[in-house]
Symmetry: C2
DNA sequence: ATAATTGTTGACTGCTTGGTACATAAAACC
DNA sequence: GGTTTTATGTACCAAGCAGTCAACAATTAT
């Protein structure tokens, strides 16, 4: 009963995700976004509402595609916790110029906008909890386990930020 | 033989440093900078040339005021290496919203501009070398020492980025 | 066919940005 | 006191930004 889409919104969203990943929220201009997504500005706003909303949806997609597998790796139980943690850190690409969208956002957009702050904080907390779970057998004391999970989370963020900075 | 300054350039530079520290390079607008520095735009450009140059000078000042003391702490020899490393990490403010200008820049401006990239990379390397020196007695193998210094550097960056993100 | 609905397009708006130009003010030298 | 020198203040500029809007196109229903 109306004109059909000339593009796939999910494909467009994935393209937007990669722009935000590469350039960060602030430096990702709408012109760049619409070029990468292959749509015009009006369509972009009709579908996604605002730049911030587009980012939040792109961030969700990133979580599904890249954060969740890492968390699964840390929390699955078919190998020892320390082995899973090792595996997790080995998975970090050594020359990924884009870094990690979660870490990039923590260092960037999350500071300016409280909605972005919230979703970023939530994912960092998920990661911390995943580390904590992976440590449950080898570190019996709950407080110590928590602080070790915090350290591992910080180490992960630091690695990704540094690799990105030096790339 | 000419009109004297109505302000102290060093005081103004320090004010600029705090703006860059709080807001980051991109979000620090010239309007904010000139307000904080208490000077007008013409004077700012006559004295500092460009926003980037002002940042580079402010960054130098930050290194003198905040990075060098940390490096001294790590490399002075009146206590054991592990004690100095502990001391270094304990020195990190637990609720510093601004984080660390070096780490913030590594995650931000350093990616866009190659001059900024260079000065940031240099300071990160200094920090890494300072950790390495602090480890010299307890870690005999040079390769292992190097990689442990890398880990400590990444942990430091991650801590400061995370503290800033969650503040 | 025609009407109704909804996606598409691209020009347009108002705003902010970093940077510049120029008239003016304040000092020192002669 | 006039000249020179350099800082100050401000109006201005082009470019880029996020976001809007109205004409247009493509489909379905009647």
């Amino acid at each position: 009963m109306a004109r059909p889409y000339s593009y796939d919104p999910e494909v467009a969203l994935e393209a937007a995700m990669h722009v935000f990943w590469r350039d960060g929220y602030d430096l990702a201009s709408l012109s760049e976004l619409q070029d990468a997504m292959g749509i015009q500005r009006g369509s972009l706003y009709k579908e996604f509402g605002s730049k911030k909303n587009l980012f939040l949806k792109a961030f969700d997609l990133y979580v599904k595609q890249f954060v969740n597998p890492g968390i699964t790796m840390l929390t699955q139980s078919d190998s020892s916790g320390s082995e899973r943690i090792n595996q997790f850190f080995k998975m970090i690409p050594k020359h990924e110029m884009r870094g990690c969208l979660l870490c990039n956002s923590a260092a960037g957009a999350a500071r300016t906008d409280s909605d972005v702050h919230q979703v970023v904080a939530t994912q960092i907390e998920r990661l911390r909890n995943a580390f904590e779970k992976a440590l449950i057998k080898q570190t019996k004391d709950a407080k110590e386990r928590r602080s070790e999970a915090e350290r591992l989370t910080q180490l992960y963020i630091g690695k990704r930020v540094e690799i990105r900075a030096e790339a």
